[in-house]
Amino acid sequence: MMNKWDIDGLAEKPTINADTEKLKSDLLTLNMGPQHPATHGVLRVEIKTDSEIVAHAIPHLGYLHRCMEKHCEALDYRGIIPFVDRLDYLASMNMEWGYVMAVEKMLGTEVPRRAELLRILTCELQRIASHLMAFGTYALDLGAFSPFLYAFDEREKILRLFEEISGARLLYNYIWIGGVWNDWTDSQIDRVKEFLDAFEPQTQMYHELVSMNKIFVQRTANVGVLSIQDCFDYGATGPVLRGSGYKWDLRKNAPYSLYSEFDFDVPVGTGEMGVVGDCWNRYIVRMKEVKESIKIIRQVMDKLEPGSVMGKVPKVIKLPEGEVYVRSECPRGELGIHLISKGGKEPYRLKVKSPCFTHTSMLPLMAPGQMVADFVATIGSIDIVLGEVDR
């Protein structure tokens, strides 16, 4: 596939031909992880390699298993929020929002407009922070150290803002049932504006540094290709599904909160480098999403008007008997909360459908036939957080 960036045909991968067939040997079992810098936490992948080519990959999960679903059965509805924070600890705001929406639906709470806007503001900032982390660590996986520092510098600015509004850098407990914990002051909103003005030109630099870098393209284009049908079969969502070219985003296709009022695009993989659905496309979808998030945040700031940030919620939250399944779009895919109540102050059952868990189950599909180094690129491209996989 020719394109303007790929002048020398660098994105083309050498295929396994008859000569490499001759080199086949007995399978060697190799444990990658749980302490391995490229597995993004405590994931252990048992790979059977034939020299440098992976024959099977079996993910072993559970090193971070805390059975938070069991803990939640003994906690009241407000007390669960900090536990939900610890699922995807790189995007806690989005986790909180998903859970809180489920409780609010059962409670029938009206959330004030300002609170909804502030939720969108914080969650989109969180999405940027999360994608920056994905960008930095992905480049680090592939051997480029400096993008990591650039990304963390910018991410830290967002985390400082969050620290100011919520008191914590990573685990916020900021989005509460009925609204948000605290209002943003005007000066804090101005600082978001300042941050965005300084950050937007930076994204262009990231593209020049990494996205269009020849080595980076060689490492990621045509690697770990997923078709749309694969994504449906395995239930993939988020940037993995969009990287394969399916324009599906809950914020657009089944809008919740006030997302229908906003004007933004849903970026999909188009196969500028390599084929649609490869690692490079999944990566570029995230980078484009950062731009869309900036767009949304700017619109939020125009719409913000003074008002209450907390709706009317009873002091002791008791949900009626029933169940809900609520989905929301998180940086890593669709978070689903299945909440069953039998009346009373505690949930009877809380099931978290985690996007990372689903994506981890795709590793055995993508691994066979890859080089070990490409497998590292594949793990990085699905951007998993083990806190969410193991719960």
């Binding site: 059975c67 079969d233 395995y234 009626p320 299945h338 069953i340 099931k351 868990f357 981890t360």
Partner: protein, 195 residues
């Protein structure tokens, strides 16, 4: 919409006995119950008819008298996105089992393993039927309501006496009392007071 779907399922799969459990108001979601023995045929119908193209999750619920397995489907459709809670009821709590739908939806592989790990539901004909989150030699199924964590695992104390979850303990005591095992209940309760 669910009534229509249930009718379609009943027409396509003989003996599926699909019934809709309607939510009383907009605050909660409705669900569809089918016969546990027909789940594979129902899932095959959902897939082939294009009603639901994505399996999002498989979850279990322990209602003490019986168990439920909840299949959460979604349709990624631009015009009419929808989701479905499909449930089967398992009355055998000692060795609950249901057919796998792994061959239809590969997403079910990990999800069913998790359901087995957490609830002890056996999925017949599953290609890789192991625990997934807990260690392979762990005892018991954590998300069952009567679960008590083991005290020692491989020589390590994993559940020290002073850190007992009293809510779980009281629950078990209640269960025992219901079943008329008064003696066991009173000894457990007195143990509980010491803590």
């Amino acid at each position: 919409m669910l009534n229509e779907l249930a009718q379609k399922i009943n027409a396509a799969v003989a003996g599926a006995n699909a019934t809709v459990h309607n939510a009383p108001d907009a605050k909660s979601d409705s669900s569809v119950y089918v016969e546990a023995s027909k789940i594979h045929a129902v899932a095959a119908f959902l897939k082939s008819s294009g009603s639901m193209n994505v399996l999002q999750a498989i979850s279990g619920v322990d209602y003490v008298d019986y168990m439920e397995v909840v299949y959460i489907f979604a349709k990624f459709d631009f015009e009419k996105p929808s989701q479905l809670l499909l449930k089967v009821k398992l009355t055998d709590r000692v060795s609950p089992n249901v057919d796998t739908i792994c061959d239809l939806y590969p997403a079910a592989n990990f999800q069913e393993r998790e359901c087995f790990d957490m609830f002890g539901v056996k999925f017949n004909k599953h290609p890789d039927h192991r625990r997934i989150l807990c260690p392979d030699d762990w005892e018991g199924f954590p998300l069952r309501k009567d679960y008590m964590a083991q005290k020692v695992y491989n020589g390590m104390t994993v559940y020290p006496e002073g850190k007992m979850n009293m809510a779980d303990r009281e629950f078990i005591v209640r269960q025992k009392m219901i079943k008329g095992a008064q003696e066991a209940a009173s000894s457990d309760a007195s143990e509980g007071k010491v803590q």
